[in-house]
Subunit: 567 residues, 2 copies
């Protein structure tokens, strides 16, 4: 494609309505233009990148045995009433009425339509499993559309729906999708992890979100760079500390620590550090006092406590609780407090040293508290909030905590929709059962935002080759010298030769300054830049620059074609 | 693809709601399923065919220099108010309101959005021309959705929009699109012609409709099989008859023809045939009596009369006109009637013989009326309604009259939208002008209907190879004999080999009867059917059948792969 013809005007300045880098760069590089809040036109470069992502998704879905269909965007609202999701979506869904007063939902997803479709065609266990997917525009009437494609109201989504006879089949379908998703995001050049998730309006049981690491992500999560471990901050745990022998320690000793409001003050006063103190945190568990023991430098993960105690109800002690129990010395409870029904200890308290703890008496702490000698927890658990650098529970490498963009989501739906919409099958004994469903979404347009968040620098976008609108950005700098025609001719020849080898080339043949050309080449971000200028041509070379790394080298003109086409 | 896994259930019976063959076959062959009136889900086979058509369209648009974009389906209604099309579309357009009470049109086309887009990016004559296209879902709230995809409410359309500096540029852009359209419809296997058309709500001047010949088409049109001539029945003309010498004839003679209500009766009475009679039809043209002369066996084309007389107003004489002018002998006017201001004659009246005409006197006709001797028309024109078999005005071959499905439409829009929405450019002298636009639509989903209307037989669809969901339909008939496992293995091998050569194969590996397999293969309509059975395999052959022609031959198994892949 010649830039002299390409429908593109790059912008030097960030658009006023863009808050995040990917949105700014997508507008500046002429990939999208705003039409209304959260609604965009896709210009040629953006459209090409979008189609590249869609094609990767398609290939991986096909490889996983899913079959492509296209389901309507305008869906009878009655189906959504049958499933109960008309109410569940509420204002998030666009609804439209036809001339005969029939209502339609503008699809945010398509469980209802696809379930009805399968119910109409399939009825026997021999028909199953089947997995249908589509890549089509979806609609959500977001309260606050923002961040460009990240929270848009019209967006391209791949949605797949699996139908199985039983839970084992669902698990197999789910695993296939999980693998396909990993392939998709890897090919798109994203750093991502799958995280167990709460499901939203779609309802159902097991689900995992694929999070692309990005500072602007909406949710923080914990992940390991060395393995595929990842979890929401609430669910994350670190590697348990094994049992260890505590070397001989001096006997327990009570010290006076008056009016010391926090761990740091106590540590200072006693000449030690917070990580050698132990906190005994009071919880009300179905009316009983339960102490949660963690090191002084760590926070309790209340979700973990709730999980351990379930189905009992758990809450932190409040001031009112302490006021009603003057026998409990707030701020000075120790792990050996006799009034506790149970003590739950984080496994890190197995560290081979003695602890400073509360002395179960106001204004006093105990030191040289030794596990097994001075206190013995009722149970050991992983119960602190994970922090960056903690050891991965899977592989022991240091964990990271980052924000993430949700680029995909896989759900085990079960039979919610098949029951509501009559998708049943007959087993080999003639008995009827609802089909067991899974659903699987990928934010195709959103992937582009995530990719740009990960792959950019101050100059602009650095497209991964797999989704770049063009592979080579060819810049000609004819100059004003005698040989400018010769330079142009050489560039035209290379452009023509590359196209003949089916390389997608963006050719900057415009009559603008070299500065403008180089700035645009960096902004647009094709993986390889090739510059033909008078000086180089005089020496028989062109310059190649790898956009992502900035690495430059020179290629002899007579081998450039082979070098650029990987021969 | 294995049919044992394919999401497909074919139907033996026509669906109750389908009136036309293409709709019936698309449902029976499992290409589409109805979701609501005029709204369909596309199942795997239909989706593949649709994508094949879309890809052909894309390639031809790209070749013509158009650039692909994607414009939103949800478009701000304010833009439609600015162009005046909100009112013009009226109930034909779906409108949807968001949670903040902003209204959106669900795009029936995209002139407003694309004009605004180009206005925002381009401003100089140096920017032009540009042609942007998209392939996206469109919406029309049809009063009576019917015929499946032919009059659907949700349909896939390719819409392109060209922007030029002047009319000459527009003509060049239009010509490129015209050529591309011809390529598209040819590649899709359609018999089609471009017909000059009245434009609809889009407004504008010159436009042409591409009509695919089909008995179920909504409009009749005249076309030539030997050249590309075609026209609406109103605009169609036949080859003019040249001036000829009329051999000597007996003198004019008046005969009594009392109470003869029509041409046939007069001809009978006089022992001649209607084609040797001449009708003199009375028209009121701005208050004057104008006679239109045509042979007795032909009808006047009133649109042609109106065109010839424009800007004067033209209407046929009514009974009231005759009642007010008793001097005009209704039913007995001759071409030499003295009261006529003018006579317009169809050129076929130059035929080298004498005519029977009215004698300008009630109950009397004249015979032996000779051109140049007894009457001389004021002007010669092509003025009869064209009939099948008339000679093509371009090449002289016999014309056909058929009904057609509109599969494409090319418009020269002019500056209607660019003025309304501010798409202006500055010329090299610094003066501002509105851009000159064209718009170009192809009914991508509708093409499938037109193709099936043209390419089917009693057994089902006969897909042209270019858009067939699969190229080869491989049927295995393992039989019940000892070598059934061997037959299956040979089929599996061929399936695997064909796929390795990137041939799209549909493999009927189902455990159903040969009859069901053959019926489905014919219904689904892949271009080539290959059957592997026990008897053939014993002789080392497979059977090949060309679906469209029914031609069958046998291929030796060891050369079948090469034969099927064109080697």
């Amino acid at each position: 494609m010649r830039m002299s013809s390409l429908f593109l005007r790059t912008l030097r300045d960030d658009p006023a309505d863009a808050e995040v880098t990917s949105h700014k760069l997508m507008v500046r590089a002429g990939l999208i233009r705003r039409v209304a809040s959260g609604i965009y036109s896709w210009l040629p470069l953006g459209n090409r990148a979008l189609r590249n992502v869609a094609q990767i998704v398609r290939e991986e879905m096909d490889d996983a045995g899913a079959q492509e269909v296209t389901l309507p965007i305008a869906q009878p609202l009655d189906l959504w009433k049958q499933s109960g999701r008309d109410d569940a979506y509420g204002q998030m869904m666009f609804r439209v009425k036809d001339r005969k007063d029939n209502w339609y939902a503008m699809a945010p997803t398509a469980e209802e339509v696809v379930t009805t479709l399968v119910a109409g065609e399939y009825s026997s266990y021999r028909d199953l499993p089947v997995n249908l997917y589509q890549i089509n525009w979806k609609y959500r009437d977001e309260l606050r559309p923002r961040f460009g494609l990240l929270r848009a109201r019209e967006f391209l989504m791949k949605d797949a729906y699996s139908f199985d006879a039983d839970l084992a089949g669902l698990q197999a379908s789910y695993d296939l999708m999980f693998h396909a998703y990993s392939q998709v995001f890897s090919r798109c050049g994203l750093t991502f992890r799958a995280v167990k998730a709460q499901s939203g309006e779609i309802g159902g049981d097991t689900s995992q979100e694929f999070m692309a690491v990005a500072a602007i992500g909406e949710d923080a999560f914990v992940w390991c760079e060395q393995c595929d471990y990842a979890a929401n901050t609430e669910a994350a745990t670190r590697r348990p500390t094994p049992e260890q022998v505590v070397p001989d320690q001096p006997p327990r000793e009570v010290v006076h620590t008056p009016a010391m409001p926090g761990i740091d003050a106590v540590a200072d006063h006693l000449g030690t550090t917070p990580d050698l103190l132990m906190k005994s945190i009071a919880f009300d568990v179905d009316g009983e006092l339960v102490l949660v023991l963690v090191p002084g430098d760590r926070e309790v993960n209340e979700y973990a406590v709730a999980g351990i105690c379930a189905p009992a109800k758990v809450r932190l002690y409040t001031d009112a609780d302490f006021d009603g129990h003057p026998e409990i010395p707030k701020g000075y409870i120790g792990p050996d407090f006799a009034g506790a029904a149970r003590t739950l200890a984080d496994s890190s308290l197995r560290a081979p040293h003695a602890w400073v703890t509360g002395a179960n008496e106001a204004d006093h702490h105990a030191r040289n508290m030794v596990l097994g000698r001075d206190f013995t927890p009722t149970a050991w658990n992983e119960i602190v909030q994970v922090e960056a650098g903690d050891k991965c529970s899977s592989c022991g490498s240091p964990l990271r905590i980052d924000r993430g963009i949700e680029v995909g989501h896989v759900f085990q739906l079960g039979d919610k929709y098949s029951r509501a919409l009559g998708a049943v099958y007959t087993d080999d004994a003639g008995a009827e059962h609802p089909m067991v469903m899974g659903c699987y979404g990928i934010g195709v347009s959103r992937i582009l935002s995530a990719v740009i968040e990960e792959h950019h620098d101050d100059g602009g976008i650095c497209w991964p080759a797999a989704i770049a609108p063009y592979q080579v950005h060819l810049v000609v700098i004819p100059g004003r010298g005698d040989n400018s025609a010769e330079v142009s001719a050489a560039a035209e020849q290379l452009y023509s030769d590359l196209r003949a080898r089916e390389i997608d080339v963006l050719f900057d043949d415009r009559d603008v300054s070299p500065g403008v050309k180089f700035a645009d080449a960096d902004l647009l971000g094709m993986p390889v830049q090739v510059t033909i200028g008078a000086k180089g041509l005089a020496r028989g070379v062109v310059e190649r620059k790898i956009r992502a790394t900035g690495d430059r080298d020179e290629l002899a003109l007579d081998v450039a074609l082979d070098a650029l086409t990987g021969h």
